[in-house]
Structures are given as C-alpha cells and as structure tokens.
C-alpha cells in the first residue's frame, strides 16, 4: 500500500504550552484513521498542522512523497489536494450554499462557471441537499450546514479529507446525517483522518484508531484492538469515561 500522508516527530507549541510533543502518524491511500482522545489532547492541532494552517515547530510532514513542511513549498498548492471540515461549520454567511461551494473551484482551481455550478448541483444532490442550493447558511439546520461544509470541501476534488470533530457542535439527532456522509465517502475510497468523540462511529468506520493523550500517540491499532483490548492504562481510563457518559 502507498502512503498518502505521514507526520514524523511533529512538535507544536502555542507560546509555552506544548500541544504536540512528538507525534508520528502514517495514513495509507484509501485508509480511514480516527483520532480519539480527550479535548485539548491535540487532535485539532494535528489536523491543522497537516493542512498547513498552523506551522509546526519541529518534525516533518510528507504528502504523496513531498515534504510539505519545507518553507519553499507553497501552502496554497498543498491545500488544494486536501479538504478540511471544522467543528463550527464555518460556512460563509454572506453567500448562498451554491456560492459557498463554487468559490474555491472558480477562484483557486480555475474551473468554468457552468462546470462549477454543475458540480455543486451534483454534489448537493448526492447528499440530499439540492433544495438548499439558493439558501443562505443561517436558514439551514446545523446538520445541513455541516453537510454543506463537507460538500464545499469535496468540490475542490481533494485526495485527502480531514474532519475536525465535525459533529461536536451538533444536536444529537443531527449527528447521524453528518456521519452518514463520512461513511458514504469511505465507500468511495476517500483517504480520511477523522478527529472524533463518536466512538461507535470510529469503531465502525476506522481502519486505524489512534489515541492521542497529552500531545503523544499513546496507542494505535485496528478499532477492534483499541476498543476491546486497550494496552495502556490511560486508554482504558479514557474509554471508561466515554462508556460512563453513555457514548459507547
């Protein structure tokens, strides 16, 4: 199997708070990796580092064999190969759903207007959002907004998708529709890194589950292993807390 993206010895600190201490992660082509761990363990930061939204202090990140953390690399070109979806949707409130989706294809990827519009309609149709094409984001439910945000990222035709706790800001009854989209993407073979608190979903979808604790990966492995037979005491503690809160 070919490696899609690899992080080696990544270190990131904000001021004097070290968020990522020494992080290694390898994601193969078509693989779905779920990052789990308590809030503040560094999941979001790692995703933003991979997207080059946050510069790393040490280590390296390689995408398709290219060292993307090299200062000579244009981050805009790297970002064109991957999409990221955030916890808080971050749709552009002054644009309709269609304009949100078409912005990057038109301005970054040089797609024609007709083509970009067709693509937007196709993607919206695929995820059951076609009737929302001319709505503004504030007229949509949280689940719909988040699905539009995923479509917006997909419209850039990424080879790698990063999901940053995309269901954490949603009402419980809206979580399933968003997770459904990610399942759908898995079936198309999309390579994905998913930071999530939804353990049931991680167990279902992930090829590899990585437990991030205090800035380091304490344990990695197939979901069966991590969830049924965790080796580390800290992993057991974390999962126990999740079970106690009724989320597994």
């Amino acid at each position: 199997m070919t490696t899609k993206v690899e992080a080696r010895n990544v270190v990131k600190a904000f001021d004097d708070k070290v968020v990522l201490k020494d992080v290694d992660l390898r994601v193969d082509q078509h693989e779905v990796v779920c990052l789990i761990g308590s809030s503040g363990s560094g999941k979001s930061t790692l995703l933003k580092c991979i997207n080059l939204l946050v510069p790393i202090d040490d280590g390296e990140i390689v995408l398709d064999g290219q060292l993307i953390t090299d200062p000579s690399v244009n981050p805009n070109e790297v970002r064109q190969k991957m999409g990221i979806v955030f916890q808080a949707f971050n749709l552009f409130p002054h644009m309709t759903v269609q304009k949100n989706i078409m912005l990057s294809p038109l301005r970054v990827h040089g797609m024609g207007k007709a083509e970009a519009s067709d693509q937007a309609h196709e993607l919206l149709d695929r995820f059951g959002l076609l009737d929302k094409v001319d709505e503004y984001p504030d007229r949509l439910s949280g689940g719909q907004q988040q699905r539009v945000a995923i479509v917006r990222a997909l419209a850039t035709q990424p080879e790698l998708m990063l999901f940053d706790e995309v269901t954490s800001a949603l009402d419980p009854e809206l979580v399933a529709e968003v997770l459904g989209v990610i399942r759908d993407l898995k079936s198309t073979g999309m390579t994905m890194i998913v930071a999530t608190h939804e353990m049931g979903f991680a167990r279902d979808v992930a090829d590899q589950v990585c437990f991030l604790d205090d800035g380091v990966f304490l344990e990695k492995g197939p979901p069966g292993e991590i969830f049924s037979n965790p080796k580390e005491a800290r992993t057991r503690q974390f999962l126990q807390r999740i079970v106690d809160s009724g989320r597994l």
Partner: protein
C-alpha cells in the same frame, strides 16, 4: 423578551416622538400631548427671540429676505461645486481606504514592509490637522510647477481631503475586518484561497456590512469638511458666501450656505440612525432565532 420578527417595531426615520406608548387611545393622547408641548415650546422661543430688542438688527444682518434672494444664486452655484467635490472624494476615499486596510490586514513576514508603510502613512496623516494638509498640498504643489503634475488648487485640495479621510476610513475598515471571526479567514485559506482572495471574497464583504454605519458617519463629516478648501480661494459655497459678505457687509449669505449644508447633512444623519437601528434589530432577531 424578544418579539417575533414580524412584530418587531419598524425603525423610524425620525425619533419616536410618541414615547414608548405605541398603540390605541393612550398612544393618540400621548402624541397629542407631545405635539402640544412641542408647539408651545417653539412658540415661546420664537416669541422670546422676536420680541427681544436685538432682533431687528439680527434679522437685518442674518435673516434678510432680500439678501437671501440676492445671495442664493451664487452660493448655490458654489454649493454645487461642494457636492461634486464630495462625490468624487467619497468614491476615491472608499476605494483607497479599503486598499490601505487590506494591505494592513495581510499576514506573514513577507508583507511586513508594505504593512509598515501603511501604518506609518496612517499615523502621519491622522496626526496632521486637515487644514494644514490642504494648505500644504493646495498651495505647495502648484507652486512647485512640476512638469506633468496638475497645478490646480482644486485638484490638490480634493487630494488632501482624500488622503486625510482615507487614513481614518482605513481604520474603520480595519476594525470591520478584524470583527469577522478568525475561523472565516482560516476557512477561506483551507479552501486554497490566497490571503488576498480570502480578504476579497470572504472577509471584506462581511466587514463592510459591519461598518456601514461608521462609513455613513464619515459621509456626513466629509460633506461639511469639503468646505475647508475655501482657504485655497476655491469658490465653493462658503467662499461664495464670504465674497457676498465682503461686498454687502451682510451675513445672510452665510445663512444661505448653512441652509444648503443642512439640507444635505440632516437627511444623511437621519438615514444613518435609521440604518444603524435596523441593522441592530436584525442582528438581535438573528441572535434570538
């Protein structure tokens, strides 16, 4: 308590003279009281002014109907120049200030020299009295008689206004850009947009919406300040009134100019209030919904 959107009282162009009692008989009665007390107050003030010993002299000097008619055409002609200067300057200010604000909002070490240049420019210009800038450019540059450089005081007077107001307006825009949440910038960048593209398509449109009231306030202010170029001898409304006064020793020409300025600035000020209020209510409705 928040009202459902359709019951939200509409903002008014004029302040609510009826007070908070809106409807029905009680409302009608309070409107009547408000109208009556206002009329009585106006009548009292008028009576006090018109019966005072000084009034005939004041009227002759400031509110003389004959002089009003006589001064009107030339002051209006001057005022038309004010209006044109205002319109040209405002368009240039809105564009130039936005450019300054966008440069100032760029991030990263590569843009440091540009950012520093803009900061220095804004600090310098805001530190100078506008009248000094008008004198400096309006008399100074034409005196140099540089080839290929316009040497009309009118050109440089308006240029001084544009430069000065742009420095202030750039700060208004910048506040607007900074009021847009950081996640919007990040979201734009994550889609592969460059810094300039995310400013142009994502941040600035939202920023402008946030600062429209502040920009409108700037309109009112500039509309009056264009008169400052009178010091260059440009025959706009104030200068025309001054000339009339010098010729006739009567001040009614100034009152004509005052009336003209008020005719423009009061409606703009009312519109600004109305717009700001509407905007505030809309934001409230969105927040509660």
């Amino acid at each position: 308590m928040t009202l459902p959107p359709d019951q939200t009282p509409r903002p008014r162009l004029w302040p609510d003279l009826k007070g908070s009692l809106g409807q029905s008989e009680e409302g009608a009665r309070s409107a009547l009281i408000a109208a009556a007390s206002t009329l009585i107050l106006i009548a009292l003030v008028l009576w006090w002014v018109l019966t005072s010993e000084a009034w005939p002299a004041v009227q002759k000097q400031f509110f003389n109907p004959e002089h009003f008619r006589a001064a009107w055409p030339e002051v209006v002609r001057g005022f038309w120049l004010n209006v044109r200067m205002f319109l040209v300057a405002e368009v240039l200010i809105l564009g130039f200030a936005l450019l300054l604000a966008m440069i100032r909002s760029l991030r990263g070490p590569a843009f440091l020299p540009l950012r520093a240049l803009v900061v220095v420019f804004i600090d310098l210009i805001r530190g100078l009295p506008i009248i000094l800038l008008i004198l400096l450019l309006g008399f100074g540059i034409p005196a140099l008689q540089l080839p290929g450089v316009p040497n009309s005081p009118l050109f440089w007077g308006v240029a001084a206004l544009v430069i000065s107001y742009s420095a202030y307006t750039a700060e208004v825009y910048r506040a607007g850009i900074e009021s847009v949440h950081e996640s919007q910038r990040m979201s734009g960048r994550s889609l592969g947009l460059t810094q300039v593209q995310s400013l142009r398509y994502v941040l600035v449109p939202q920023a402008i919406r946030n600062v429209v009231p502040a920009l409108l306030n700037g309109f009112v202010s500039l509309q009056k300040d264009v008169a400052l170029v009178f010091i260059l001898g440009i025959r706009e409304a104030v200068r025309a009134a001054q000339i009339y006064n010098a010729r006739t020793f009567n001040y009614t020409g100034y009152v004509v100019a005052a009336v003209l300025f008020l005719l423009v600035s009061v409606p703009v000020a009312r519109f600004t209030d109305w717009y700001t209020e509407r905007d505030r209510r809309r934001k409230q409705a969105m927040g509660s919904g």
